[in-house]
């Protein structure tokens, strides 16, 4: 199969195991994102794929060619890859054009020139071709780095935190451009990031990596967000509301009504996490299925608001929760506030005894 195939990769620095039996497949044209906290070894995996780090255990195959195995170790220059570094690593002594043409030395001058200009065009940097990198903005440097990586038509593109160096306003735009260029090239792409939203935006498949260097969950962004396999994965996407208790008849009693606890047996301790966007607030008279709450605070974040409230009745009476609601929250009047739970945003985790 065309693309990247890594099997059973383990890696240790001294006694610290940073990669623990990682396998992954990136078919040509797809983008797989490795999502994990900083220092979890995801960049090491990328460097192993590139040949910048020596493989210790496992194997790496690119387009059906074994590039690394216990007895094979192709140097990076023989792997036909494009690597984009977090710091872009543009050569400061070369112009934008020379940077992009750097990997095109195997072609004759004219072909190389045409190809370099073609990729520069693709990322919209043609007019800066003669500039040196230090004259460019962060976003422009990022685009040059992408063009440079893509110019030799690599079989695999590796992106190491490609947007970490950009400010938030720029990030969304560059992200969209990058994705569209990569999809045009239909090359296999492996990207690492610690930003879950970035991973969700870019990836066809996300692989979540934990601090122990293991893959905790693989799947589409939807799977990761709506079916987080572990508490750790669920918490990646922001702070969670938590209710703990004991399961009874497949559910946990709460002020919000019974919450499904999956396959937790009777009497088993269970922790239920509820996303802040999974708590829905409404106003007015009695709301069926809702529980009355006292609003404590409201912070407008722009497109949404974070509202802190205290439950007034039932088993969780007095407990505080946080809801994220669309738009601004009107604190003035309008009667009683009620809270509901969106069952799709409730994640039960039976606790080990």
């Amino acid at each position: 199969m065309q693309g990247l195939h890594m099997v059973g990769v383990r890696h240790a620095y001294g006694k610290t195991q940073v990669l623990n039996d990682i396998s992954l497949t990136v078919p040509a044209g797809e983008l797989v994102c490795l999502l994990g906290p900083s220092g979890c070894g995801k960049t090491t995996l990328l460097r192993i794929a590139a040949g910048m780090e020596r493989l210790q255990t496992g194997s790496v195959t690119i387009d059906e060619v074994i590039v690394a195995a216990p007895n094979v170790q192709l140097p990076p220059e023989e792997r036909q890859i494009g690597f984009m570094f977090q710091d872009y690593a543009l050569f400061p002594h070369l112009t934008v054009f020379e940077n992009v043409a750097f990997g095109l030395f195997r072609q004759d001058r004219q072909t190389a020139r045409a190809r370099a200009l073609e990729v520069l065009e693709q990322v919209g940097m043609t007019q800066h071709a003669e500039k040196h990198p230090h004259l460019l903005s962060g976003g422009q440097q990022q685009r040059v780095a992408l063009a440079r990586a893509l110019a030799p038509k690599p079989r695999l593109v590796l992106l190491d935190e490609p947007f970490a160096g950009l400010d938030t306003t720029m990030r969304a735009r560059v992200r969209q451009q990058t994705l569209s260029v990569l999809k045009q090239t239909s090359v296999a792409t492996l990207m690492v990031t610690h930003d879950p939203r970035e991973a969700m935006y870019m990836a066809d498949r996300i692989k979540v990596m934990g601090e122990n260097g293991q893959i905790l969950q693989s799947g589409r962004p939807q799977d990761i967000y709506y079916n987080p396999a572990e508490e750790y994965v669920a918490r990646l996407f922001g702070p969670m509301n938590m209710i703990e208790g004991v399961a009874q008849d497949g559910s946990l009693a709460s002020s919000f009504g019974p919450l499904a606890v999956g396959d937790a047996g009777n009497g088993q301790a269970v922790r239920v996490l509820i996303r802040s966007e999974g708590l829905i607030l409404s106003h007015g008279g009695e709301q069926p299925g809702g529980t009355p709450v006292d609003v404590l605070s409201a912070h407008l974040l722009g497109d949404s608001s974070l509202v802190g409230f205290r439950v007034r009745e039932g088993i969780n009476s007095g407990a505080e929760f946080q809801a994220r609601i669309p738009g601004a929250f009107d604190l003035t009047g309008r009667g009683q506030t009620w809270a509901h739970v969106d069952p799709a945003q409730v994640f039960p985790y039976p606790q080990k005894q």
């Binding site: 910048m52 690593a89 440079r148």
Partner: protein, 553 residues
């Protein structure tokens, strides 16, 4: 290939020292008991006193001026920032020749005093004897204090001003704050500076030879040249190596501590205590004195001599020696930098512990006094010549004689072993500033290790490569003990020429040559000054310190 090459270079660099040690423990004729009972005690005491004196002197001048220049405001401070470095350009032996000429009994100063006071003989008055241990201490202190100055200055600049001001706000005065806060924080850097000073002290040959101060370096020469005893020289050299080992261990220890102290606190512009009126003038005078006696005065005197003794024929001869010096030094500088690039880049791309250790070992030559290295190189090359000769006689029935001994190659080899550290340190430091992702970028774009070095690293570190060549070049131009021992018969460099003429009390004739050496020595001072000028307070000063520390390490 990187590993094999690096290990080969390291082996070459280590062989002379190992040969000395080996020879010391397998003496042909054991004069060790004799050495112990006669001269050894004297060598040890003299060397220790010399180190103590130079150490104390350079500490006081170096730390004191560094503190004044970084923390206080007084007339001429900006000038002193780099001016304090000028005596670095002056080899100790040259300043020794100059002051001896001025201060000895027949010299102009004592002559003038006798004239004024009507004294007629030595018995009529007391005048300090320049050709003495005290004289040697004074000479070396005057030209070596810049090492301590440079590192202390950098350390003071790196200290968070906040720490110092906190101390003052807690009720400690500036003097007490200096001794209880600033000085302890700067101590590791100061110790590294002191280490460099003591290394140079142990290495010195010209001064102690001229002053007949019996240190180890001189002892090794004496036993070697006059007593013609190789093993004895090797044994003395080994004892000297023990001194060196102590220094190296002390320095490593200080460096480890320094890393601990290196907290990255926010840097602010230094406060700059205004020194009013008389105190300001006192500070100015305090900074001016070492520059005056360590550089300005000797230079002016040399210029005067060179003018008065100008002789076209002799100048022609000096020009020839200068060419010899330049050829040798350029050769050594070029080879050293090529080896340094190879070794530094090899360690970088391999990232192996072995190569890094090998590089550190190869750089140890800088800590080995020239006299010891000279003995080692002679022994190794002599042995090599003998075996080639023996082999040729046996197999071809002809004698090849001495192929390497007493050749330019031998001198160059000695220079390389001793000064490789300069080029290696400089190249390593600048390669270290190139982020590893540059390598990755180039390699992933299909370029191999060599192409990456040629297309990415070399263009990026070009400036440092030139600096590396320059540093080795300058130190080779000034080098005396190894050149004296290893040079071909009748072959003179500027340094050996000055040494020979000055020893014959003909400094006037050698003044032009001495001036040339000083002139070359000014080059790295200019380089350092430029770096200092570029570095604003609290910014980049650490880099100079790192560069210096690195180049000496």
């Amino acid at each position: 290939m990187w590993a094999a090459g690096t290990l080969a270079f390291t082996a070459l660099a280590a062989v002379p020292v190992l040969a000395v040690i080996y020879l010391a423990f397998t003496p042909g004729e054991n004069i060790w008991p004799h050495l112990v009972s006669t001269v050894l005690g004297g060598y040890v005491t003299t060397t220790l006193i010399l180190m103590l004196g130079v150490g104390a002197g350079t500490l006081i001048i170096g730390v004191g001026t560094a503190w004044l220049v970084t923390m206080c405001r007084f007339p001429g401070r900006r000038l002193f920032e780099w001016g304090m470095l000028l005596p670095m350009a002056m080899p100790a032996y040259i300043i020794a020749y100059v002051y001896t000429d001025i201060l000895e009994f027949a010299g102009p100063l004592q002559g003038a005093l006798r004239e004024i006071f009507g004294w007629s003989s030595k018995r009529d008055y007391w005048f300090p004897e320049i050709r003495s241990l005290g004289g040697a201490i004074a000479m070396m202190t005057l030209v070596l204090y810049p090492y301590v100055y440079l590192l202390s200055r950098a350390a003071f600049l790196e200290q968070s001003v906040g720490v110092f001001e906190a101390s003052r706000s807690l009720g400690r005065g500036p003097w007490r704050s200096f001794f209880t806060v600033a000085l302890p924080l700067a101590r590791p850097a100061i110790i590294i500076g002191l280490y460099l000073v003591l290394m140079e002290t142990l290495n010195d040959f010209g001064t102690v030879d001229f002053f007949a101060v019996n240190t180890f370096s001189l002892g090794i020469f004496d036993v070697w040249m006059n007593m013609n005893n190789v093993s004895g020289a090797a044994q003395l050299a080994t004892v000297l190596l023990v001194f060196v080992a102590f220094l190296v261990i002390g320095e490593r220890y200080a460096r480890r501590k320094q890393r601990f102290h290196h907290t990255s606190t926010k840097m602010q512009a230094l406060p700059g205590f205004q020194l009013p009126g008389a105190r300001g003038i006192l500070a100015t005078a305090g900074c001016l004195t070492p520059i005056l006696f360590g550089f300005v005065l000797p230079t002016v005197i040399l210029m005067n001599y060179a003018w008065r003794h100008f002789d076209p024929e002799l100048t022609q001869e000096i020009l020839g020696h200068a060419l010899n010096s330049i050829r040798l030094s350029v050769l050594a500088g070029a080879i050293a930098v090529v080896i340094a690039i190879f070794m530094a880049y090899g360690a970088r791309i391999r990232g192996s512990r072995l190569l890094m250790v090998a590089n550190r070992i190869a750089a140890m030559g800088y800590a080995i006094p020239g006299a010891v290295l000279a003995v080692g190189v002679l022994v190794v090359l002599g042995g090599l010549d003998n075996s080639i000769d023996g082999f040729a006689r046996e197999n071809f029935g002809l004698s090849t004689g001495l192929i390497f001994s007493g050749t330019i190659a031998a001198v160059t080899f000695g220079y390389l072993v001793r000064f490789l550290a300069l080029s290696l340190g400089t190249v390593e430091a600048s390669l270290g500033k190139v982020t590893p992702s540059m390598d990755g970028a180039s390699r992933s774009l299909g370029r191999g290790a060599f192409a990456t070095m040629r297309l990415v690293h070399l263009p990026l570190i070009r400036g440092s490569v030139l600096t590396a060549v320059l540093l080795v070049f300058v130190d080779c131009m000034k080098e005396l003990p190894m050149t004296v021992i290893l040079r071909p018969f009748n072959f003179q460099t500027l340094a050996t020429f000055v040494h020979q003429y000055a020893s014959d009390e003909q400094l006037g004739e050698a003044a032009l040559a001495a001036l040339s050496i000083v002139g070359v020595g000014v080059l790295p001072v200019i380089l350092l000054s430029l770096t200092i000028a570029k570095s604003r307070p609290g910014h980049g000063a650490g880099q100079i310190a790192a560069q210096i520390a690195e180049r000496e390490a």
